[in-house]
Structure formats: structure tokens, C-alpha cells
């Protein structure tokens, strides 16, 4: 192709116009090396630890909610009487509103996105492309440290006089703009807005780095066709962030104006505002945001399946194409969150069609994953278990989306627990399992230690079973008409019958939370006394496995020369290519790749 578009594509991907950056020397002192470091590996680990901490906070919020749902008005164990003396230890309704608002916000903006894009993105991208660091190391450190004002704002929001934000992570106006409608959330809601904006800034800054690094700093021989799918997923997510975040930020700015200066953007009582405008602006970002969460996870799962089945990702090009299609379509489906809001029916039909379409590339990915492991030599390591679990639970979560995409059925299920089941299967069953899988897989590289496979299996099996115990019944709760965000599901006569099911879910959730101790114990034990890990314990072919575990400063001791892709198993090449000796009979069996 010719013309300006072709020239732009050429400049973006031209290997020869490489950025020449001289690696800086290792800074002295623990503070500079481990706290204010600009090394992408340290920053990645900082994101990992911070994300894990916030996950704990978010999970505790959910558990307190679950106690209230199962036993409305009951005293919350351990902390109830201290936190809520006025109600005998039970969760007051306005605090309940803050609980689910903060649970959703923290999990989305401070756990899943930072863990996937911040932790794995930062740690893996330079290593997987053979670079010594990110393109902008200081900007990278900034993206991590921008998260902290956001976290501080979240805690301030909770503790604000008058109470925390109570309009859900979706913050629909005018509940979120007029203080009189939510008397417990005067400054809390404003802190929330600022905190979310900081999280967005952190993501924006990080996204710039991921894209520029991947486009300009690939080692010789790392063509775009040889990029691991993890990197593709992370980069496509970065593009989504860059395009969608500004819309949320602008919308949030208008909301802040409504709150602080009584303007009338979203609030009908203040100058004929339009509440649906906020919904459109919010969901224009927040729907693509779910693809920001799921695409890196999908990329990682593809890599995990390939390595642990010792087999190329089936249909690599189709996998990349499907991720691109998902991200593109993801920008034109946001109205499916608003099917009952009273949009023009013609808009409804448009969103209905685009939402149905997005099932196609997702299905293509599932079939390609199955084809990847089909005929492979599967090693059921903890990482592989998590990757396979991801495929299973992503299928269940994705399928329930078919109901939600059909407006007549969505007219029943919208804002019921069926929606809660749907997205938790994908975010918890999907992305969280992918994160665990990523940790099991890359822990040896990050720390130079091996994790215990036995503990990993125990952790996986319990987590998988308990996840289903928690989220599967939520489909039924929604069928029966139990609405979301309710501090007492049984106010409607007839819904009392749901209490045993809610109690089962709550007990399962508590056990699920406790079960994660297996994982943390595994990590702690391994860091303390775990067996040292070799350079390439999984016999994988992507570039991060060519360097030491953990990699030293600058990552690679010598410039890399890459002549094969990350999935070229069984092709038969020698140790000079950087792989340890190929397994026996590989070349004889295949006679070259298909």
C-alpha cells in the first residue's frame, strides 16, 4: 500500500529506526533501587504487591456485604460492634451503599487493571521483546506513583465526614451529583471522583510507555508477527485506554462541576441537565475498560497454554485479529448497559446488533485455545490449571452474556443478580485466574525461586470449586428477581425463599477468601526457602526465558538476535538459538512446522 497511511505504518514498525538508549547504571541504596526505581521490573513488582493489597481490601468489603445480604440486620462478625455501634453491629444502609461502590471501584481501577497492565505489562513487555527497559523509565515510575494519590483518595472517601460514596461504581447522576439525594456522600463522592481520575492518569501514562516500547524497542528479529500474544493483549489494551479514558475523565470533570458549582450537565434540577448523558460518557469508557481487563488476560492465557502444552498457539493470526476486532467492536457496544434506560429504540437495535457480534471473535478465541491444547503434550502445572480454568469459566461468563445482549430478556435481567453473576464469572473466574496463572508461570523469572506445585494445585482446585459455589447461584437469584445493590433482598414478599441460597453463597465466599491463604503461603514459603529456579524452568521459547532468573539490570547481557517466534515448538533448532536442547524426537516427529 502507498500513501500517508503506509508511511505512518512504516515509521511505527520500522525496526531500523531503533531508539538508542544507553542503560543507566544501577542506583545505589535500597530506597533508590526498590522504592523510587525506574527499572520496569521493580515497577512491575510494585504494581503486583499494591494490587494484591487492594484486592484484599476489595475482598473484605465484599465479605461484609455478603454477611448483610445473607443475614440482613445481623451483626457483622469481629468488627461489627466496633464499626457500627449505632445499629448493633449491623451494616447501616448508607454504609452498605459505600461498600458496593468501593468494592466495584477498587476491584476495577485498583486491582485488575493495575495487576494486568501495571504488573504484568511493566514486567513482561521489555523482556518479551528483548529490550533493556521501557522507552520512558521515569514516566513508568510516575505511572505507579500516580496510583497512590488515587488509593489515598479512596480511603479518604470512605472516611469522609457524612460517609462514603453511595451511588455505585457507575455513579449515575443525579444520585451522584446532588448531595441531598445521598446525604451520606457529600465529600466522599468527590474524593471518589478524584481517586478514579488518578487511577486513570496512571493507566494513561503507562499505556503510552507500553505502546512506544513495543513499537520502537524490539530486538532485531522480533517482528510484529513474532510478538507473544501477551504483548499483543497488553498493547491493544493500551490503545483502548488512550482512546477511551479521556471520555471518562471529561465526563467526570463535568460531574465534579455539577457537584461543586451546581452546574446542570447531568442534573435536571440544576439547569435542565440530562442524566443519560453521564451514562453515555461513563459507559463509553467503562465498556472498553472491560476489554482492557480481559485482553491482557486472554493474551497471557494463550501464552500459558502454548508453553505448558508445548505447542504453538493455534491460529496465531486469528488470535491477533480477534483481539483487534474485540477492541474495535468494544467501542460501539456501550449502550447495552442502558437497554432499560429509555434510549431511542433505533439506538437499542444498533447496540443489540453490535453486542451480539462481539460474541464472534470471543468464540473464535475459545475454539483456538481448545485447538492449541488439542494434541499437545500437556503438563498440568499450577499455571496450566489456571489457564484451563480461565477458558472454562470465561465460556460460562461469556455465554450468560447472550441473555443480557437480548433486549427482551435483558429487560428482565438488567440490574438483577444475573448480571452480577455474568461479570464476576469473567472478572473473577477469568481475569483473576489468569493473574494467578501468570504469577505461577512467571514467579520463577521474577524471583529466581520455584513455587510449590502441590500448594498450587490445592489452591487452584479449591478456588475453582468455590468460585462456582459463589457465582453460579447468582444466576438463579437473578432469575427469581433479586435486584442488585440491595442491602435487604427480602423486602419483596416471596424472595424470603432465596435466603438459604444467599447463605450458601456467603459461606462459600468466606471460604474462598480464606482459601487464598494457600497462595500467599506458597509465595511466602518460596521466597523464604524455596528451591532456586533455573533460567528457563518451563522450557519456553519467549525471550524473557533467555535471561537469568531474575534478570539483572538491563535484562540481557548481550544484544539478542532472534530468528524464531515464541511458539515455534517442535521446529528443531539448536542451543545456539538460545533454547536449551530440544526435547528428543521433536524434529523426527514433525519434520518441520505445519
Amino acid at each position: 500500500m502507498t500513501g500517508p497511511l503506509a508511511r505512518l505504518a512504516q515509521r511505527l514498525t520500522d525496526d531500523s529506526r531503533r531508539v538508542r538508549v544507553v542503560p543507566t547504571h544501577t542506583p545505589r541504596g535500597a530506597f533508590a533501587r526498590y522504592v523510587l526505581s525506574t527499572d520496569h521490573k521493580v515497577i512491575g513488582l510494585q504494581f503486583l504487591v499494591t494490587g494484591a493489597f487492594m484486592a484484599l481490601v476489595g475482598a473484605l468489603l465484599a465479605l461484609v456485604m455478603r454477611v448483610q445480604i445473607a443475614w440482613p440486620g445481623a451483626e457483622v462478625p469481629l468488627v461489627g460492634s466496633a464499626l457500627f455501634p449505632g445499629t448493633g453491629g449491623a451494616v447501616p444502609p448508607d454504609v452498605y451503599g459505600a461498600l458496593f461502590t468501593m468494592h466495584g471501584t477498587i476491584m476495577t481501577f485498583f486491582v485488575i487493571i493495575p495487576l494486568l497492565t501495571g504488573a504484568f505489562g511493566n514486567y513482561l513487555i521489555p523482556l518479551m521483546i528483548g529490550a533493556h527497559d521501557m522507552a520512558f523509565p521515569k514516566l513508568n515510575a510516575l505511572s505507579y506513583w500516580l496510583l497512590w494519590p488515587g488509593i489515598v483518595c479512596m480511603f479518604l472517601a470512605f472516611g469522609a465526614p457524612g460517609g462514603g460514596p453511595g451511588s455505585g461504581w457507575t455513579a449515575y447522576a443525579p444520585l451522584s451529583t446532588i448531595g441531598a439525594y445521598a446525604p451520606g456522600s457529600l465529600s466522599g463522592q468527590t474524593y471518589w471522583l478524584i481517586g478514579v481520575t488518578f487511577a486513570g492518569l496512571s493507566s494513561l501514562v503507562g499505556s503510552v510507555n507500553y505502546l512506544v516500547t513495543t513499537l520502537k524497542m524490539r530486538a532485531p528479529g522480533v517482528t510484529l508477527g513474532r510478538l507473544p500474544l501477551t504483548v499483543w493483549g497488553l498493547c491493544i489494551a493500551a490503545v483502548i485506554q488512550l482512546l477511551a479514558l479521556p471520555v471518562l475523565t471529561s465526563g467526570a470533570f463535568l460531574m465534579a462541576l455539577d457537584r461543586v458549582f451546581a452546574t446542570g450537565f447531568y442534573s435536571p434540577s440544576q439547569g435542565q441537565g440530562e442524566p443519560l448523558l453521564w451514562q453515555h460518557l461513563f459507559w463509553f469508557y467503562s465498556h472498553p475498560a472491560v476489554y482492557v481487563m480481559v485482553l491482557p488476560a486472554m493474551g497471557m492465557v494463550s501464552d500459558l497454554l502454548a508453553v505448558h502444552a508445548r505447542k504453538a498457539v493455534f491460529g496465531n493470526r486469528a488470535m491477533v485479529a480477534s483481539m483487534l476486532v474485540i477492541s474495535g467492536l468494544g467501542f460501539i457496544v456501550w449502550g447495552h448497559h442502558m437497554f432499560t434506560a429509555g434510549m431511542d429504540p433505533r439506538l437499542e437495535v444498533g447496540f443489540l446488533a453490535s453486542t451480539a457480534l462481539i460474541a464472534l471473535p470471543s468464540g473464535v478465541k475459545v475454539f483456538n485455545w481448545i485447538a492449541t491444547v488439542w494434541g499437545g503434550r500437556i503438563r498440568l502445572t499450577s499455571a496450566m490449571l489456571c489457564a484451563l480454568g480461565f477458558v472454562a469459566l470465561f465460556v460460562i461468563g461469556g455465554l450468560s452474556g447472550l441473555w443480557l445482549a437480548s433486549t427482551p430478556v435483558d429487560g428482565y435481567m438488567h440490574d438483577t443478580y444475573t448480571v452480577v453473576a455474568h461479570f464476576h464469572y469473567i472478572v473473577v473466574g477469568g481475569t483473576l485466574l489468569a493473574i494467578f496463572g501468570g504469577v505461577y508461570h512467571w514467579f520463577p523469572k521474577m524471583t529466581g525461586r520455584r513455587l510449590s506445585e502441590a500448594l498450587g494445585r490445592v489452591h487452584f482446585v479449591g478456588t475453582f470449586v468455590l468460585l462456582n459455589c459463589v457465582f453460579l447461584p447468582m444466576h438463579q437469584l437473578g432469575f427469581a428477581g433479586m435486584i442488585r445493590r440491595t442491602s435487604d433482598p427480602y423486602t419483596l414478599p416471596g424472595l424470603d425463599a432465596l435466603q438459604p441460597l444467599n447463605e450458601f453463597v456467603t459461606w462459600s465466599a468466606a471460604l474462598l477468601g480464606l482459601w487464598q491463604l494457600w497462595f500467599f503461603a506458597n509465595v511466602a514459603w518460596s521466597l523464604a526457602v524455596g528451591a532456586p529456579a533455573e533460567r528457563d524452568p518451563w522450557r519456553a521459547l519467549s525471550l524473557e526465558w533467555r535471561t537469568a532468573s531474575p534478570p539483572g539490570p538491563g535484562n540481557f547481557a548481550a544484544p539478542l538476535q532472534v530468528t524464531h517466534g515464541p511458539y515455534d515448538y517442535g521446529v528443531g533448532f539448536g542451543p545456539a538459538e538460545g533454547e536449551s536442547a530440544p526435547l528428543p524426537s521433536a524434529a523426527a516427529r514433525t519434520g518441520g512446522h505445519a
Binding site: P93, D94, G97, G166, S167, I178, Y181, P183, P268, S269, P275, R310, K311, A312, G315, V349, A356, V364, V366, A371, V373, W374, G375, G376, R377, I378, L385, L388, V391, V395, I396, L399, S400, S406, P408, V409, G411, Y412, H414, F464, V465, L472, P473, Q476, F479, A480, I483, R484, R485, S487, D488, T491, L492, G494, L495, A497, L498, P584, A586, T590
Partner: protein, 272 residues
Amino acid sequence: MRFFLPLLLLAGAGVTFWSVYRPADLGLGAATFPGEVTLGGEHVDALFRELAVLMGVLLALTALLLAWAIVRGAGRRDGSGSGRTGSVGLEVVWTVIPAAVLVWTLVRQLEVREALAAAPRAAALGPAFQVGVDAHQFEWRFRYPGPDGAVWTADDIVTVGELALPAGRPVALALRTRDVIHSFFAPALRVKRDVVPGRETPLAFVIDPADLPTTFGDPRGPEARGEFVLGLECAELCGWGHAAMVGRVRVLGDAALADWLAARAAERLAVD
């Protein structure tokens, strides 16, 4: 693990099926949809079931394929997993067939949408029964036309928490609120509509006498005293009292409805 994991996946898929097709069998009070009572509501249920069957087929397919791949693959002891790294033919197959299925779902959805929209318009059913729904933090108020025959005027009959409706006649609700977004949701009606401040949102449906219990009897006529109560919830977070914003939809035979309205009007006059 080679056999345990596939068994786990298959068991999980099995429990998933059962929970959708036979939720009551799971015990624990597992519940399902309350019976639908609208003209056209059965189309929603039919679409739900058809999609559920489709999902069941896809879930079975993926679970079986995964389980089989794991059993075979985890049993291998030698070599790299060899074999093809891609197949244009397969990509085409598993794009085109799901696309065809999706087109079918789209067609079905449009059919059901049309059926639902058409039901209240059926002319033979008579003029629409108009009620104004005034959603507040945290109660439902309903406004019936007073002597002037119009809703939203000063002489309306206002009730709190209880909406009385006729069966077999088109109902035209006009949803308004002066504070935050609420959502009118009566599960048995199979409709949900957000109530957005700053606008009036219409909601139309017909309660089908054929879906009511036989004890309800004939909805028309001077002896029509049947009664059937449905639950009503607010399905959009409206503040700290969201959980408490419930109400009743009382479906009444014509005579009973007339009595009910007269009683409400009398209460209003007594208060004034």
C-alpha cells in the same frame, strides 16, 4: 490431575446445566422466574429458553472438547506437541457457523421485540388504562385520573405503594420522578423501565387473563371481583433506601377495581 481436572470441568458444566434447567432440584430454595402474566410475556420466556438451549449446547461442546484434550494431552510423555499451528478452514468453520447462529438470535430478538411492542396496541382490547407512576426516594406513588380525567393534575387520586390494574385491557403507565433515577420492575410483568428525572417515560403492557389463576375469573363485567397480587421493585440504585422501595401490583377484575378506586378517592377526600 489428568483425570481429575476433566472430571471437575465436566461436573462444573453439569451443575451449570442443572442450575438453569432444573433450579429447584439444587435445593437451598433455588428459585426461578415467577410466572409471567402479560400478553407477550411468554415470548420473553421462550427466547430465554431458546438461548439457554443454545448456551447448553455450546457449554457441552467446549467442556467435552477441553476434557478430552486434557485427558489425551496430559497422558503424553514424549516430544513437543507437534501438529498444525493453524488452519484457515477451521477458522472459517468456527466463524461462519457461530455467525449464522448469531444471525438467528438477532432475528429471534427482533421478532420478540415486535411481539412485545404489538401486544398493547391490539385495538380490540379497548382504550388504555392510564396511570401515572411517581417514583420517589423511597416509595412508589401512583396517580389515577381524578374527576378531570387527566393524570398529573391536582385532583388525581394518589396511592402509595399499591398499583391497581385491570386485566385484559392495555395499561399505559407514565413514569416520572423528581429526584433520582429509579426503575419500575415487576418480575411477573417481564418488563423493566428506568424512571429518569427530567422526562416522562411511557410503559405499556396488557395483563393477560389467560395467565392468571382460574380463580380470578372473568376480568370484565359487574361481578368481576378477581384479585391477583404481583411484586414490584425498584431496579435502579436510588440511594440508601433502595432496598426498601418495594410495592404491590394488584390486578383486579373491573368491579373490584372500581371499588378500589372509589375507596382511594374517598380516603383522599377524608384527608382533605
